[in-house]
Symmetry: C2
Subunit: 312 residues, 2 copies
């Protein structure tokens, strides 16, 4: 089968799926629609963590051991910044900085995050299309027992320690989908729309909160298939499980399916969750742990197979 | 003798003199008034090359071999910036970047270059006072045979190759001396005012172009002594000699003395220039080449001795 595959994605986990997918089908036919709710301004620079994770992962520049940022990164900027009393709670690698400095400058000149992301992807020879969910600012904020925290303050600054009571996507109601987002979702040659196994509440929900995207998914001709972020009732990485507990949501495949219910045609679950009650929609099972490239290719293929099966 | 010593200075050469002086007298009693005509905005960041050279030199962080920037510098930012098509004609080291990023952010928050410089100096434990000549923007521009060039485009971008016809300090007429500048020059406890062997036309003239500074020097109780940038009729470093040739100015001690005439009480010349016609003001001679720290201390002492002799 041919046609475009669209992936709604956050950072690390989603980037792995898109990388796997890039080895399963023609990378030219992949569009990643990326969460920008984590974006923030730090030391005067505009940082887009999920977009950059996609760029690094797809170009082979990511640090596989550390799990974030660039391979071979150095930290002299941070050392020097610390020495002059600058903010040091968020680590900016020396190479990574280039993306933020150049982006900040281009934004000041009137370019959009879409244009800047496309320019970086082009410069690195990426075939995949990487679209921010929106070029308008959307910021994920968390109501916690330590007060209201912007996403990176919670995620990096406090390492997800605070108890979360509520999540808010500031600016989402006014945000417009970036150019291409609704078109790619709704296009007649779109083969499948995948929701990456990113955190549903922190990484995918901001995308769904941009007016128009949820409706486009609901009306899409292509099947929408989520890859569950749970493996045996646990989140593989990050604060998903802790967050679900705090929000009083059971960490089961059923809950994930229900969460995406209105837009979903099918869900790929981990084989370790086979015993639990299956959601009331098309399911498939696979080993969804994505440690190696082969794992990622396998998961991408399984999600795509389910979508193709649904499309019939 | 005690009292404050004020040094008017550009970057590398002047920083060497201030460093030597810091070993000759109490660093607490030294004020450097620094050229900011070379300052410019690059990739969206505010860069103050001469101030940073002072900060690096006085804190022992400068790269003595390369002659500019930080020792142990790395260049991953530049590599990454180049890979995304960013401007690469002006080199920003990874550690060096921290000063520009933090400065840009602080300026955006309303802090002045003076305040930011003082904060950096304090963070690095410097005893010397480092004052920008002005907190208002002054930009050195050059009329050349390749058109009108901002200083760094001429100096770094074109490595001083273009033929210079005229020099302009844009904004100087509207600039006010930074807080403390006129006070330090005119103070009754100021022992001496030294003009560093920086380029008179590119590094010292911008300082003298800030309204009020020239008058303050003329009226200062303390003797004003210049250290000639010439050694045997040649400039030690940088484009001084080439520039003088292009401007039709003979590179002699007399010309330097005449250039500073209205503000000068004495001049320290290199012993290799002893044969040439002595300027019509108080002169002293020394080996003014500043390769080692001992050289720098010797030159600072000689300049100070001449000032003390003039003060009587």
């Amino acid at each position: 089968m041919s046609g475009r595959v669209v992936v709604l994605t956050g950072g690390v986990g989603g980037a792995k799926l898109v990388l796997g997918l890039s080895h399963a089908i023609d990378p030219d036919s992949i569009t990643a629609i990326v969460n920008t709710g984590d974006d923030f301004s730090h030391v005067g620079l505009r940082v887009c963590p999920d977009i950059d994770t996609l760029l690094y992962t797809l170009s082979g520049k990511s640090d596989e051991v550390r799990g974030w940022g660039r391979a071979g990164e150095t930290w002299n900027f941070m050392e020097a910044l610390k020495s002059i009393g600058g903010e040091d709670w968020f680590l900016l690698g020396d190479g990574d900085l280039a993306l933020h400095v150049e982006r900040t400058q281009r934004l000041a000149r009137g370019q959009s995050v879409s244009e800047i992301t496309a320019a970086y992807a082009r410069a690195w020879g990426l075939a995949q299309e990487i679209l921010p969910m929106s070029d308008d600012p959307v910021a994920t904020w968390l109501e916690t027992d330590e007060g209201r925290l912007e996403f990176q303050r919670y995620f990096v600054g406090r390492r997800c320690a605070p108890v979360v009571n509520a999540i808010e996507f500031v600016g989402a109601a006014q945000a417009r989908p970036a150019e291409g987002v609704l078109e790619r979702i709704g296009a007649s040659d779109t083969r499948a729309i995948l929701i990456a196994p990113s955190n549903p509440y922190l990484s995918v929900d901001p995308i769904l909160a941009v007016p128009g995207i949820r409706d486009a998914l609901r009306n899409a001709k292509a099947p929408v298939v989520a890859v569950s972020p749970l493996v045996g009732g646990q989140a593989v990485k990050g604060p998903t499980k802790k967050l679900m507990d705090e929000l009083g949501i059971e960490a089961t495949p059923q809950t994930i399916a229900t969460h995406y219910e209105a837009v979903l045609d099918g869900i790929l679950l981990d084989e370790r969750d086979q015993g639990s009650a299956a959601p009331a929609l098309r399911c498939a099972y696979a080993d969804t742990l994505m440690k190696t490239l082969d794992d990622r290719i396998r998961v991408a293929r399984a999600a795509l197979a389910l979508a193709d099966e649904i499309a019939g």
